[in-house]
């Protein structure tokens, strides 16, 4: 299949990829349902982008850095971020590593080398460039991946980051997860040019891939990572998928689009993966069913478990603005409590 793995190795790697995609999908469904039930405040579904993210994740080393965006649950799951960490963030409970401060879908996972997610889109990109500069400065053998949507290519930060990474030949993979929509704006109205081609304007290497197929994505990502790691400078990957769900749980796509790719249809990344794994003889319908119910069981169970965790203490709100609390904040804390 790929020249990278031998037989058993490939099976293990692919099965792990599939398993991450499945877990992400079950996670997604669970949170969307929980949001409707009022158990979660908000969520940006990732359905449709599993293959893109897992494919790229497969090409990375554990110590490579990721400056991710709000839709990267499958990426995080595949790199070993425990589901609990994601749930605690979404719930904003007292075990959340960000102390319940961020809106749902604004994850972080330092242990797995994920940065903390901000809302203003693409503003993670210049940070990734700086991270890569640090890596190069210390002659470390790492690359930095940073992710963003198609809409985000119109931002100032996209332009700044692509140019700087190119000028300094930095090991950055710019992963554009082109799900073809930026909330209600289709990518054709975002820009007249295919996104991978924009790399040329900076002297970066640009490549397009079918982001619904984790194997294709993996192969392209592997090349890109090798390039970057060997000092050949940044790569812009345009991974084309489709945002199967709404932009967020607050969004109603029926206002602005008719249905495109649907769940379970032949372009669904999970369906494509299953077909591939079946063709390779790695999997059967029976195994699939078992894996699915196992994934669902895990998500349900963890959700119930994390839901019991209390919210953070009010006074924690005043911490971490600065390393040492200023007298001003101390007084405000005193006044309020």
């Amino acid at each position: 299949m790929t020249e990278v793995f031998n037989g058993q190795e490939e099976k293990d790697v692919f099965m792990r990829a599939y398993s991450s995609m499945l877990l992400s999908r079950m996670f997604d469904k669970k949170i969307v349902t929980a949001q409707r039930q009022g158990r979660v405040g908000f969520y940006t579904p990732t359905i449709g982008q599993e293959a893109t993210q897992v494919g790229v994740s497969m090409a990375l080393n554990p110590d490579d850095l990721v400056y991710e965006y709000y839709r990267d649950v499958p990426f995080m799951i595949h790199r070993g971020v425990p589901v609990e960490v994601l749930l605690d963030q979404i719930m904003g409970n007292s075990e959340d590593s960000a102390k319940g401060r961020q809106m749902p879908s604004h994850y972080n996972a330092k242990a797995q080398n994920f940065m903390s997610v901000q809302s203003p889109v693409a503003t993670n990109l210049p940070l990734a460039v700086g991270a890569a500069y640090a890596i190069k400065h210390r002659k470390e053998n790492k690359v930095v991946v940073t992710t963003f949507g198609d809409g985000s290519t119109s931002t100032p930060d996209f332009h700044a980051a692509l140019n700087l990474a190119s000028v300094y030949d930095l090991p950055v993979i710019f992963l554009c997860e082109n799900n073809q929509w930026a909330i209600s704006l289709p990518v054709e109205k975002q820009t007249k040019v295919e996104i991978w081609k924009k790399a040329e304007a900076y002297g970066a290497y640009g490549v397009k891939v079918d982001g619904n197929d984790f194997v294709e994505t993996f192969k392209v990502a592997k090349d890109a990572v090798d390039r970057a790691r060997s000092g050949k400078g940044p790569v812009l990957i345009e991974a084309v998928s489709y945002r199967i769900g709404p932009h967020s749980t607050s969004d109603d796509p029926s206002k602005y689009r008719s249905e495109g790719i649907t769940e379970g249809s032949e372009k669904d990344p999970i369906v494509i993966a299953e077909k591939r794994l079946k063709d390779l003889g790695y999997i059967t319908d029976e195994i699939i069913d078992k894996m699915k119910s196992e994934a669902k069981r895990i998500v349900d169970q963890k959700f119930d478990e994390r839901e019991k965790i209390p919210p953070p203490k009010p006074e924690s709100m005043y911490d971490d603005v600065y390393k040492e609390m200023t007298w001003i904040i101390k007084e405000e804390k005193g006044d309020a409590l």
């Binding site: 319940g100 401060r101 203003p120 985000s152 119109s154 209600s184 704006l185």
Partner: protein, 324 residues
């Protein structure tokens, strides 16, 4: 005179509709304002009615939205850009501070920028750090900008009507928490609420509470519920704020406090307090107090602790009333 019960979203939507219908030079532009009708539905139905050339869905680039609007405004149009959340305006901050605000001045009065930039702001919808900010002080500190924030559907329409004829750039801050919180009678006909004039929401004798936007109902509710004889001033226009109204009231009551969501340090409360400390010191019985958001980013789960509320306001009132 006919009127309708409208919430703030409806009041703004109908005023934008009116503006588009009256004047071909009016255009709306922003992210998701067209087909989608805006993430808060404020522009719902307008693209269908006026076309995608006048209710313009833009690419994801705030600085472009603002920069283009300035260029339109310089050329005989009346652009009404929307920034989806005020939190995202900072990517366009240079265009606001260095272009919109300074064009009239730097051209010796030859050019001006009649643009109304609308944007939802403030907390109350569990938006966390990046969907809750109250940045009015950044704008109010910028000479050349006019900053408005309505606290109810009636004022929203009336202020927007005035803004349509205003010839300088306006930052029209819509307290998203109040978008659908109440309906009031809004006349169908044209009327204006003047820019630069506060409203005395409630007359009172014991103290003056200056506030605006989403805090107006919180302050009013607290005062009514606890039967405080407070005079409540709703600024409506944050810059230039109505110094005269504040001064008159404080001369009468002898006590002053300011309530807003934005962080305390260098928030509008600082300016109002300094204004009074400059010219009302002889009338003041006690300190000037500020009840505000703290100097921290806006937290998601603890939003209710972050925002000024009855308890915090009453605590400050209690402290003020000790002085006589």
């Amino acid at each position: 005179m006919s009127s309708k019960q409208l919430n703030m979203v409806q009041a703004i939507n109908s005023t934008l509709d009116y503006a588009l219908s009256k004047n071909d030079s009016v255009v709306l532009l922003g992210e998701d304002i067209g087909r989608d009708g805006g993430v808060f539905r404020v522009t719902e139905g307008l693209q269908a009615k006026y076309g995608s050339d006048r209710v313009i869905d833009t690419p994801l680039v705030e600085l472009g939205i603002v920069g283009m609007s300035i260029g339109m405004a310089l050329n005989g149009m009346k652009p009404i850009p929307e920034i989806q959340f005020q939190d995202f305006i900072f990517t366009a901050f240079d265009q606001l501070v260095n272009q919109a605000a300074k064009l009239r001045y730097r051209s010796g009065g030859q050019f001006n920028v009649p643009m109304i930039l609308r944007t939802p702001y403030g907390g109350g919808i569990k938006g966390g750090l990046y969907h809750s900010q109250s940045g009015e002080a950044y704008f109010a500190h910028t000479a050349g900008l006019t900053v408005i924030s309505p606290s109810n559907p009636y004022d929203a329409k009336g202020l927007l009507m005035s803004a349509l004829e205003y010839e300088d750039p306006i930052i029209f801050l819509e307290p998203k928490k109040l978008y659908r919180s109440t309906k009031v009678d809004v006349p169908d006909e044209e009327y204006k609420v003047p820019i630069g004039k506060a409203s005395i929401v409630r007359e009172g004798n014991d103290l003056t509470i200056v506030t605006y936007g989403s805090m107006v109902p919180v302050v009013s509710g607290t005062v009514e519920k606890n039967k405080i004889d407070a005079e409540i001033i709703d600024l409506r226009t944050i810059m230039p704020y109505d110094g005269e109204a504040i001064l008159q009231s404080v001369k009468k009551t002898g006590r002053a406090m300011i309530v807003h969501e934005a962080p305390r340090t260098l928030g509008m409360g600082a300016e109002i307090s300094a204004f009074l400390a400059e010219r009302a010191i002889d009338y003041l019985m006690g300190p000037i107090l500020r009840v505000t958001g703290p100097d921290t980013p806006f937290p998601y789960r603890l939003e209710d602790y972050y925002l000024p509320n009855e308890r915090k306001i009453m605590k400050a009132i209690g402290k003020l009333m000790e002085f006589r």
